[in-house]
Amino acid sequence: MTEDSRAVEISNVANVTMHGGAHAWRRRRESVIYALLVLLSLIPILTTFGIIYVLFSQAFAFFMEVPIMEFLMGTKWSPLLIPRSFGVLPLLVGTLLVTVAGMFIAVPVGLGSAIFLSEYASPRARRWLKPLIEILAGIPTVVYGYLALLFITPIIRSIFPQANAFNALSAAIAVGIMIVPMIASLSEDALAAVPSSLREAAYALGANKYEVITKVVVPTASSGIAASFVLGISRAIGETMIVTLAAGATPNLTLNPLESIQTVTAFIVQISLGETPWGSLAYKTIFATGALLFVLTMLMNLLAVRITKSKGRF
């Protein structure tokens, strides 16, 4: 409905109800509903601000005791055992290792299935497959964590006997699989949104199907596809259960995926579950690392929004 036609409709409704006191009553009822809706919509906003406030005020308290440079640049993470050390790089590198390795799986598989779904699958197959993929996206991550531990890790260790029982690779594979549905689904949306008139134009110029897909459809959808990758990265950075179960709890500054590592999220779980005294420095580390995580995923999400906005016109 356009702005104008809505205005006309509202004034028509108003005319009908203008008789007697019905009009005033109706106005009062609408303003009550309006106030209620505003109140309800404030809840998520206030909650978000509350979380951000707690996160950053506690993180600030942490940085009063540990210089921020030491935190960001330090290469040893040992917040509980003396001598203590608060270099977050091992956790950060652990997170990035899992994320990057996971994306190596999620990007090709996710984009491949998106292209298959949107360009090759028959309309009937698509009607079945798309919801199936979306169900896959709903599998609890703890299931993926067990999958990694009980299924992927044994395979890895049979190929690389030197691999640790908890290792980054196993978690990364599970994280990658977990993200595939998300990338497939979002990329498929982007591909399906490419106007068919562009496909037609390309066919009419004598392009074959492969050329139409690789040179017209995918490039035109590239901003939506890139956004799905970035959101996938954001998911991987924040993923907690899989890495807690499968990647280990050793803050190891390494790029070797066969070693046991610890990610930022897994560390937060470890401290949250332990009996760290409330208000202690160790307790405050989870806010510092949490704030770091928040900033990272926030940047990723902003990037995704930027990508879709900047080039998302056909």
Binding site: R199, A202, A204, L205, G206, V212, V216
Partner: protein, 252 residues
């Protein structure tokens, strides 16, 4: 004038819905043939059967023959890609590739099938844009995106793009329906010039346009070709009552 394209007993379907019934006619070389008829009568389907675009739609098929220079374009040895290169198409809504520059849009046909290295792109760009009467307006901004042009310019860009791959026949599906009168006039001028070198088929809803630009006219109704002949004859002395009703606006 010689016949360039011959159509023999052409039938077309979407799924099991038949939309064209036994169409037989011929398209002359170096002339404009107009296709008229009410909405949904099968005009677009007809011209899309002439360059094998119909089959790109899932579940669409056809029977019958389309001969270009006496060779059936539906012969099983023929690659639809080569047919679409020989028989160019311009669509109702201008559809330049939005991510490509004006330059790249013109040579998109070569870029898409990887033959760009074998030809002199600069020369093709200038030649095609001149043919489409767009060169003077865009020659200093060839690197700008195709989407930055006005609607009428975009349509001429699409015509240039179709001409760049040197087709023998040009199919135009309501090329002016998204344009204002001035832009329409320019496209009509252009069609007039192009007919010196090509066989052109134009679908139009505009009777005056059909009368102005075409030598032959075919009137379609409900998937059948009701009447086909010299445009002058169709418009001044139609043989079929339904044709007369349609062109005088008494239809429906």
């Amino acid at each position: 004038m010689t016949a360039r394209v011959k159509i023999d007993d052409l039938c077309a379907w979407f799924g099991d819905q038949q939309v064209l019934y036994d169409i037989s006619t011929s398209i002359k070389d170096r002339a404009v043939t107009a296709i008229i008829g009410p909405s949904g009568c099968g005009k677009s389907t007809f011209i899309r059967c002439l360059n094998r675009m119909h089959e790109t739609i899932p579940n669409a098929h056809r029977t019958g023959q389309v001969l270009i220079d006496n060779a059936d374009i539906y012969d099983h040895t023929v690659d639809p890609v080569t047919i679409r290169q020989r028989i160019g198409m311009v669509f109702q809504k201008p559809n330049p590739f939005p991510r490509m520059s004006i330059y790249d849009n013109v040579v998109a046909g070569f870029r898409l099938n990887g033959t760009a290295r074998r030809v002199n792109l600069d020369q093709i760009v200038e030649e095609s844009l001149r043919q489409a009467a767009l060169w003077e307006q865009v020659k200093d901004r060839l690197k700008e995106p195709g989407a930055s042009l006005s609607g009428g310019q975009q349509q001429r860009l699409c015509i240039a793009r179709a001409l760049a791959i040197k087709p023998e026949v040009l199919l135009m599906d309501e090329p002016c329906s998204a344009l204002d009168p001035a832009a329409t006039h320019r496209i009509e001028d252009l069609i007039h010039k192009l007919k010196k070198n090509y066989a052109i088929v134009v679908v139009t809803h505009n009777m005056q346009q059909a009368a102005r630009i075409s030598g032959d006219t075919g009137f379609f109704l409900d998937g059948t070709l009701v009447e086909f002949g010299r445009t002058k004859g169709i418009f001044t002395n139609p043989k079929d009552k339904r044709t007369e009703d349609y062109i005088t606006g008494r239809f429906g």
